[in-house]
Symmetry: C2
Amino acid sequence: MLRFEVLQTDPTCEARRGRLTTPHGQVDTPAFMPVGTRGAVKGITPGQLVDTGSQIVLGNTYHLELRPGAELIEQMGGLHRFMGWPGPILTDSGGYQVFSLAELNQIDDEGVSFRSPVDGSQIRLDPETATRIQNQLGADLITCFDQCPPHSCERGDVAAAVERTVRWAERCKAAHRYPDRQWLFGINQGGVHKDLRRACAERLAELDLPGCAIGGLSVGETHDQMVETVEEVCPLLPADRPRYLMGVGMPRDVVAAVVRGVDLFDCVLPTRNGRNGYAFTATGPIRLRNAQYREDADPLEPGCDCITCAHHSRSYLRHLFMTGEMLGPILVSIHNLRFYQRLMARLRDLIEAGCAARIIEAFPIAAATADDGYLEATDA
Amino acid sequence: MLRFEVLQTDPTCEARRGRLTTPHGQVDTPAFMPVGTRGAVKGITPGQLVDTGSQIVLGNTYHLELRPGAELIEQMGGLHRFMGWPGPILTDSGGYQVFSLAELNQIDDEGVSFRSPVDGSQIRLDPETATRIQNQLGADLITCFDQCPPHSCERGDVAAAVERTVRWAERCKAAHRYPDRQWLFGINQGGVHKDLRRACAERLAELDLPGCAIGGLSVGETHDQMVETVEEVCPLLPADRPRYLMGVGMPRDVVAAVVRGVDLFDCVLPTRNGRNGYAFTATGPIRLRNAQYREDADPLEPGCDCITCAHHSRSYLRHLFMTGEMLGPILVSIHNLRFYQRLMARLRDLIEAGCAARIIEAFPIAAATADDGYLEATDA
């Protein structure tokens, strides 16, 4: 019921134009997945999401298990039906959130125990539990429970996290009940240490999983470190299976990773920036609270075909943010998501034309300095 | 450029089926106008508003003058273009807000001075200013600057407010620059005192204004007092001109007023209740935070054709409110607006069938007790 085809490769770089077929529809890759943490992309209806060109969304296992719980979602017919999104869904495993957000009480080779920030109860996550939860949620693509070490970690700790991540992946594969309708992705860890990344890739290859995620690369490393790591890892991954770079990133990060062979991305940046009044454009950020937009009758980005740019001026959007109207975050989130989806469509076109490496000429924002001024993914 | 036709009257009551033609499109009456206080119906895009069946929206002169100011909106091409709403708009005059919200510094026959809650500056509103502002905003229907006394007022104070409102209406008419493309409505005041309402209607009739608003009836009086007052006032108003009951109200209020000859309504109830997790249904309120909806797979209202009911369960909507997801307020506001617009469509159908007085049989919610449990228009 699931299939991934590489339709075309680009002779100028490692970029691939592909198509992922799932029980809930197709995804043209390279693809960007908006983040629907708790079963909702913040402020955006499923219909609006379709209109931005999004074909697949991400849900967070950790947040959904805390509230309302995977049991309830399963009882309501699974995550697709629960959130009213008929298209493909990917769920992360909760590993990243547990290690970055939770008040950890115990962590060992077996798994992790932590205190629920909602009601203080003890919660257990381990490979079997994370897989069971994702089986209940029913996403088309699911991920192995992994240990994602912070960027500041010592090499020895990163090596231990790799070892644990690999052993947990075996257990996830063994626990996975629906391999025919949910593809389980392994997660490559290893920080910025190329030999650890390589070792991880080799060990995971033995599990013969249908897809591979690259984790631990939106945790504080530089753009160049991310790019070098992706450049090292991608050639080690099976060429016929989808590659997903977790939590990345800024437009320039996405472009750099596509050129090196990544197929799937997710990031909170378009919606988080949108909620806070920062609009993405091909020439850099528009911070709508700035006084310079008070009398600006232009759309956020001339030429953009989103409903925000079709109907509203920068002046109006600024007014919405200055008065705290919730329509402001909604409209700018819609534009930012459309911006990302237009970028992905452009990348797919360029790969088909065999010249993706020239994307940086086509998209000035792909230049390293163009990100300045946006909120980071880790900002509040 | 403006026209109002009474297409049909109902032999069983005073209800009228009409059509208002404006430079920005037609409105089928009786009509309900969603409230776009600051140039946005909270959380709802213009496209979503159209999908609820709304044909005309209301903007608040007071709030729009405070931020961003009528000058800016005029410079941006007027309120329609500024808010991206191509259809008809009505603006109130700011009178109600000035007398209920502002820190008043001076009030006399000339006008009102108050302190801006935004920046503390002194602001002046008088008939000429309120009319000039509404000319700049450019709504299709505008209203006279009036004095709206609180329900607790002594009779003498109400009489003085009526007198002032009538004299201010003369000045508004004199100041109005675009009578051919903006219809100026007089406002009938007089509280629950029938003789004062009658006197006000007679005095306003001399001004020969193209429409009449009934003010001061969403300020704390009972449902029965409202109905009796509307029953008294409507026959005093010109039969060939539109009648607008300001700020009303609950579904049963709207139904009772339609049956007595009112054509236009506005109220914050559908959106305010929606933002707070209260859904309107034909059988009474659904308070989504209640635990009883945790596992409820039904839509808010079976048979409703809004996008919320088409795609989402009560269980999901409850989850959105329990986790503070902004999509919850959006989806329930959309349902509530659609609920009101379906009620209006049903009323129009019944008038065409000549049996609007039987609406209460068709709509149990039109019974007096069905409102229990909703937030009031004046709640936070």
